[in-house]
Symmetry: C2
Subunit: 421 residues, 2 copies
């Protein structure tokens, strides 16, 4: 089942607004077994939109249009669709009613321009039955044409709630799709790739590798003609991936590392405090983005100066003087100190050189000591992370968080990681 996506808007061809709608639609259509053959963006130009629509409707079974449905004079999608289909514009009374109702409900002065949104190509059927939201579809010579508003929230809502169900009802894809996104921490993309190379050869399988550094996300898509075959292939792949990367997989789909840790801490009724130097609050910030984190996060300290390390964490002056702030004894003292002073179950610490300055031949930029303290022990390891300041900070924060996850989930006191010294 082939289709095309057409996005309308001057702001899109001018590179002023990112065309996220088309990306989202392409992804969702793929996951539902539909093939998108072309994604086109054009300005608010009546004859160009008309010509491209006519072409797409002659080639493909469905077409998804976004943008140009609003009340202002540069909104011309309705007229372009009518011309492309050779149909007149007709007043949609239901839409008129909803527009007037909203004007009343929101106490807006009546604006006749708004009624332009109700002038739709003959045969158009509104996509929503409750909201005064633009968006309709048309059946035309066995093909489906969807027109959606460009506002991303409305586009996404209609795509998922209306367009995909209608497509599946009227133009069933005839294939079964199973997809899963695996989120991996602590392995290199190339090493992951190597272990999955043979799976990629299966005709039903598409594997994608997305470095969202410091994480690697692996997407698996299985497309088969029957549910049985799709499930059979998928379970084979899932087993291979779990066996190859088990403890390195911190989550699936929308999971965030910090939310996974949060769930584990809540389950265990345990608490956490963090002491950060070169990550500068990034770990605390990630943890506290998660709703409900106050149940397990007690405090964080960003001890950028040596004074702060002494005053807030009780790091002894002597070890700072003898070993320097970026050292094993300081990482140990920070992790142990923050856990003891905050009376939590776990303490994490990070001290390092994020750059761009501050490196030395013995401790180049990217050198980071991470400390982990729990009832059982306090340990620290040295890492040398690649990249610029932000990437070093991201690697350090991710490694500290994942270390805690590995302990909570597997009881591993010192997990093996890439970039360990």
């Amino acid at each position: 089942m082939n289709g095309a996506i057409l996005a309308v808007g001057n702001e899109l061809v001018q590179g002023r607004v990112f065309n996220t709608n088309s990306f989202l639609a392409a992804r969702e259509l793929l996951l539902h077994g539909y093939e998108v053959r072309e994604i086109l963006t054009v300005p608010d130009d009546l004859s160009l939109i008309e010509a491209r629509l006519r072409d797409f409707l002659s080639r493909y079974l469905f077409c998804l249009v976004s943008g140009g449905l609003g009340p202002t004079t540069d909104d011309i999608t309705n007229e372009a669709v009518a011309r492309a289909l050779g149909k007149p514009l007709v007043t949609n009374e239901e839409m008129v009613r909803r527009i007037k109702e909203r004007e009343r409900a929101q106490n807006l002065p009546h604006n006749p321009l708004r009624l332009r949104m109700a002038e739709l190509p003959e045969g158009a059927r509104l996509l929503t039955n409750t909201r005064a939201m633009a968006g309709y579809y048309l059946e035309f010579e066995g093909k489906l044409l969807f027109c959606l508003p460009g506002v991303p929230q409305e586009f996404e809502y209609l795509l998922k709630k209306k367009v995909l169900p209608l497509l599946e009802e009227k133009l069933p894809a005839g294939v079964v799709v199973i997809s899963r996104l695996y989120k991996i921490f602590g392995l290199r993309e190339a090493d992951i790739n190597l272990k999955l190379k043979d799976l990629e050869k299966m005709p039903e399988v598409t594997i994608g590798y997305y470095p969202v550094l410091p994480e690697i996300h692996v997407s698996v898509l299985v497309k088969a003609s029957s549910k049985e075959r799709a499930e059979e292939v998928f379970s084979q792949i899932d087993e291979t991936i779990q066996a190859a990367f088990g403890p390195y997989i911190f989550g699936l789909e929308e999971d965030l590392l910090e939310a996974v840790i949060g769930r584990l801490l809540v389950e265990r009724k345990e608490t956490l405090a963090v002491a950060e130097s070169c990550t500068g609050g990034l770990i605390a910030s990630r943890i506290t983005r998660v709703p409900g984190s106050s149940a397990y996060f007690e405090r964080g300290v960003v001890t950028y100066s040596n004074e702060a390390k002494k005053e807030l964490l009780g790091v002894p002056e002597e070890i700072l003087a003898t070993y320097g702030a970026v050292s094993e004894p300081v990482a140990l003292a920070m992790a142990e100190g923050v856990r003891r002073l905050s009376r939590t179950d776990y303490g994490l610490s990070v001290t390092g050189i994020a750059g761009p300055t501050g490196g030395t031949p013995e401790k180049p930029v990217g050198t980071v000591w991470i400390g982990f303290s729990c009832k059982e022990a306090t340990v620290a390891r040295c890492f040398r992370f690649p990249g610029d300041r932000h990437l070093v900070q991201d690697y350090a924060a991710g490694t500290a968080l994942d270390w805690l996850r590995r302990y909570l989930h597997y009881g591993t006191l010192v997990p093996g990681y890439q970039f360990a010294c």
Copy 2:
């Protein structure tokens, strides 16, 4: 001067990889006075690419193609271009030499597939003269066709260093463009819009509004036939914007609020410490993303629990018990406490209810007290920010940072802000 952009790649039409190249090209072409009429994405399909290329070359003066130039068999752009132009593929000896040279330099085994990258449409001229990087252009009936690799770093390099200069040499846009991005904090988009409405009517001017909440970014583009006219129009607009929003403009173009503050603190040789509750380290993290922040950032504390507020900041038990953690006395005590204990020039504090839970009728979700402490005084103000947990955190962190900027730049002890209670 009209053109089109064609991006080739299965991963793009499948929504697996974001098409950032086309977005970047559209934006850069606009800023150089060129108009992009169509941005099309297609899969690795020879006849489709050929058909679309032929169409674009018949309609437009230039066409920019990205992707499909690599060594593997699914890289078919060279062949599609040759077919669309009706020209043969010819071995480019210079490219052969570079490929072999790189194999030697990197000690790679010779792989004959790599030589596919040297089979180019007759008339193709390489874009680089040093690197073994794909990328060429062709002149065809007075039109320009550019073929660039899909790798974003290479695409961006060739676009900026080669494509735009070649376009300006061979197809001068004939217009002068001046652009500026203004970054505003503390005003609503609609209020900004209202004051600029008249400017938008000028034919040479395009104004775009981009809420990057909590900031509003305003882009101004002036396009005129002469440098004098462009400068005249631009200076009129710049004056209007400066007069209307002066102190609310925290920066231009790539400026970040936290970096602007950093520059001001370095100039004044002053220092900062922060005490965060509901922002959870976000302020500290933003400050320490900036290289060189250790010169002025002394420490941060994330006092999520009441114990941490007492132990790390000396907030008295009585005021926590009497007024609650989200209150004026606590915000004052936190700001004053962190400044005193860290012996810095400035202290910032945030305590509030980011949600989704924890709100009460008197202090609903979004209620945030922000404190500011300097030599002159310690003050605090209440805000009620809209949105979900992340947006409340972002508004709170942005407002605290901007408050410091307003003091450093203008000496304003308590600036007026939207969402103040």
